[in-house]
Symmetry: C3
Subunit: 447 residues, 3 copies
Amino acid sequence: MAYSDGLLEPLFDELYPICRSIAGPGLRRSLDILGRFLPLQRESIASGSAVFDWQAPPEWHVRTGRLTGPDGRVVADFRDHNLHLVSYSEPVDVRLPLTRLQPHLHSLPQLPDAIPYATSYYHRNWGFCLPHRVRQALPDGEYHAYIDSAFLDGAVDYGHCLLPGDSEAEILLSSYLCHPSMANNELSGPLVLLGLYHRLARWNDRRYSYRFLLNSETIGALCFLSRHHRHLAGHMAGGMVLTCLGGDAARLSYKLSRGGDSILDRVMRHLAAQGLVQTHPFTPLHGSDERQYGAPGFKLPMGNIARSRYGSYPGYHNSLDDKAFMGIDTLVRSIDEIEGILRQVEIGGRFLNRQPYGEPHLSRRGLYPTLSNAQNRRRSTDELEDQRAQLNRILTVLSYSDGEASMVDIADAARLRLQDLAPVVRQLERAGLLAACLPPRERGEPR
Amino acid sequence: MAYSDGLLEPLFDELYPICRSIAGPGLRRSLDILGRFLPLQRESIASGSAVFDWQAPPEWHVRTGRLTGPDGRVVADFRDHNLHLVSYSEPVDVRLPLTRLQPHLHSLPQLPDAIPYATSYYHRNWGFCLPHRVRQALPDGEYHAYIDSAFLDGAVDYGHCLLPGDSEAEILLSSYLCHPSMANNELSGPLVLLGLYHRLARWNDRRYSYRFLLNSETIGALCFLSRHHRHLAGHMAGGMVLTCLGGDAARLSYKLSRGGDSILDRVMRHLAAQGLVQTHPFTPLHGSDERQYGAPGFKLPMGNIARSRYGSYPGYHNSLDDKAFMGIDTLVRSIDEIEGILRQVEIGGRFLNRQPYGEPHLSRRGLYPTLSNAQNRRRSTDELEDQRAQLNRILTVLSYSDGEASMVDIADAARLRLQDLAPVVRQLERAGLLAACLPPRERGEPR
Amino acid sequence: MAYSDGLLEPLFDELYPICRSIAGPGLRRSLDILGRFLPLQRESIASGSAVFDWQAPPEWHVRTGRLTGPDGRVVADFRDHNLHLVSYSEPVDVRLPLTRLQPHLHSLPQLPDAIPYATSYYHRNWGFCLPHRVRQALPDGEYHAYIDSAFLDGAVDYGHCLLPGDSEAEILLSSYLCHPSMANNELSGPLVLLGLYHRLARWNDRRYSYRFLLNSETIGALCFLSRHHRHLAGHMAGGMVLTCLGGDAARLSYKLSRGGDSILDRVMRHLAAQGLVQTHPFTPLHGSDERQYGAPGFKLPMGNIARSRYGSYPGYHNSLDDKAFMGIDTLVRSIDEIEGILRQVEIGGRFLNRQPYGEPHLSRRGLYPTLSNAQNRRRSTDELEDQRAQLNRILTVLSYSDGEASMVDIADAARLRLQDLAPVVRQLERAGLLAACLPPRERGEPR
């Protein structure tokens, strides 16, 4: 079956109930489902392997998780909602009074109907998450906590694929796949990534190569980096983590990469100056996998793009983050807008004027008015203004395309809009006056 | 006959009526006239030769151009004013009704008494220019358009000469010589250039070498560059096109070179910060030959200096641009002011403190007050302030003259005026404490 | 006897009456006294030796200086106050009328009770300094000027010592010792330097090496530089002249070094941005020996630290500059504050994240909260804010410690306070996650 945006909703519905975590069957099944429409190269790092300063974790397998009250009523059941169980809970079968149970309970006083999302990946522990309203009403007495889970040696899985372009320089688009049933802060990213893959696959003039990556957050990104960081150091021209791309914010938000000067960073700043997107500075404190790519040992130019950013909406990291909040339509809008951004990245780089010795003879190529004195023409002032603006764009692009300044630098310096330069760039390329500079980055070259 | 500024007016009167164009007898005769007072090295590029992306044009020879009305009255005659003919008009001898004639007529509705200036260099065409008032009154009927012109193989001519200085580093002063009877936007530049040659020839302490160049605009500049751009790449420290130096604007306007950081650019920005001149950013859209020098294949540091800039006065490119508008006196004022600017360029560059290990022993050389405690002296507060300001200038020049910072950088950083540092520089040079750094630029070194 | 801050006052009282000058017994005796508590390496440059552009002066030995009036009354006597004699006065025994005496007298009309400080080092002369009130009352008649002084070949003495640290990179702290009886603008510097030596000697974790230097101003600094400037070029990371550290100004003032970018300059700018100190730009016009270190042949990163700056208080360079104005307590406060500044310099430099591939596994080292979802904890909002701020400091230090950015750059960029990063730096060093980059500067490497 061929991909179309109409498949986003059924795919969402199929992926949503799966209990994903950073390693294990939920992650694998999700990769399988998305792999039906993405030619993912699947890789894995065995549990226990050293991954830089970390160790690949064991897989978490969970069958049942149930908290029963003194009266025999089930207070929280994993089968009702997988958020009820703290992710990576160890197996437990214990009866204990409410006071000793409390440290294992998680709820949100400020959102009394939401089930929070909690994890304990690297410290063995167990716990249940439940609405604060339910927790407040718990009677004293003996509770039965029963979790049938296991930590098994397995692997951390991830998958990626490449759409090659004229240059081996790559734009990396990644998203994470490791949270249980959440929508905006889990499935919005992989689904937008899927849509973008199919948009860019249809372009017949890709200058850059585009790599699409799905991994569990943090440890999955480190696993991918452990295999590919040298390749990325030599090839990566820019990139971004796709995250939280649903919700109701009007504009996309871009968190700059650590260096802040990749081609994508520059285009986003250029668009932000026009009020079309928002940009935020890099911070290692919060965000997603761009924090790993930006670490001082890598310094890879990874940003992060979101619509409703982490922490900016009430449903963040709890059961209110569902399809209604996210909005399938919003995903399509995000796909449209990011495709438009990438079109500008395509012409935002460096070009070389191929007739750089003086002003090229434009009139010979039909690119210049014939008479230098246009005052007698039967043309409106607007037409003349348009003609002059067009000539300015042509001469500006030619004059500054020296293989050093990027087109977005040129647009910024000349106070022109990159989107207005795009047709001029193509016109001058067709006329043989301009050539893109897209050398493959040297393998292993540090950024 | 020796040059004096008093010759500017008779030279103007001799040059004004000549029908110049980008190649041909008018250009040559004008170079001959100016060559009486400038030791021009004459060069030429044969018609048809490839000149970068262009081809050297044929010469345009014109004997007659006359438009006669249905009643036999002459509507426009080349002999009355050479602007009546579109420059590079092809030969024609045709009778045609007014409606078919109109596309060949040029006039200015907003200046109904002016004859516009029109050209058609690279697209064969013909036409007449006339006052809009006359054009409006033209009766219907059959007109006789007669142009006796020819395109002959010949050459594009230009001429240049050098005033050598201590260093082989050159300041290039150029102007263009290719318009028919116009004053500010044609003859003001060459005449100011002539005056400057004789001012600078009298200096006995030139640090830089000065090259003076006269060429037809655009193609003439490209012809010169085709022969000399490698020399310029290795020697040119700065330069400017002299243009539109008459008119009534109070201050000179300088358009920065493409790189914006030549010694001349820096001095002009320094003077602009004091309100003495105006500066404008480089643009490839309008201006003069600096657009060719600044092309990415050359990146030569050429600016443009004007008083009444192109496009800023009503007479621009029409018959109102005459001697009365331009003003011979204004040319002399421009010569004075540009000479003053070049004097500052002379000391605006890099210098080396020759006693750089600590503060030199100034008192031994009579450059410092003997008693460190001056409080008992019978001196006014103003005298003490002056003495302290002078000491500040001396110490600032010495402290920062490390062969890296230019004097104009030093003046900017210390908030001093370059014109106030000039006497200090000479004093310290005489004392053997300072030496100019004027290495010849390496031949062929890219800027 | 061991040093304690309580010794500052008796040392002041012992040093104050000594008639110091730029070379001679007063300077030597002062170095001897301070050398009881500082392991000074004593060096000297013989009178007459060439010292860059200067010559080491002869020593000035003075036994008596007395001006007697027509009535036999002593008007000014060197034994009463050594400021009565112009420093480096030549011997004289002459009787002369008041009018011929006047050019040899110095007084301050605006401070009629103060004896000014005057010198004539490099131009042979003689003179007396006296209160303006006394001078105004001098009767006509014959005066007897008697000065029993001698210029003897000897040497310019100075002394320095080093507190070694982990790195051979040095912070140079110097002060001058060449004025007769003055307090703030003479003894405050050497006494603060002495106190700092003993503070830093007690640190058991010095990263930098600290050099302490006492010399006569200007010529003494040049003598030191003539022997050691190559060593400093290869080792000096920053430094400052200690001067005028008494008086009543609330904050310390730091004059930036000529380059303005040493580690000390950066720390001081960082503190100035918080309003804790004031900074002033480098100027070669006034100040102290930093003007010599900053000369273009050296470009050594020497600043200047003061409390009541030269010229900013009435007693500057006259007899009002005494212990009461200076304040022994203020010296101790200056020692405290400068020690605090140097503690920040210690962690202000470059560090290397030793687990630079992604975010290190902090929780394994007890540096991160165990549960990623902290919402159920019984912690106040303030506690959570503190925890988050601490995590931000940890991640910021790790993320930007790439061996290129200094810690003060990192603090500036992240809008954090260097003093708040200090405990984080030590914590991460102990955890093996961070290592200081303090390579010895290459010998002879130009700054």
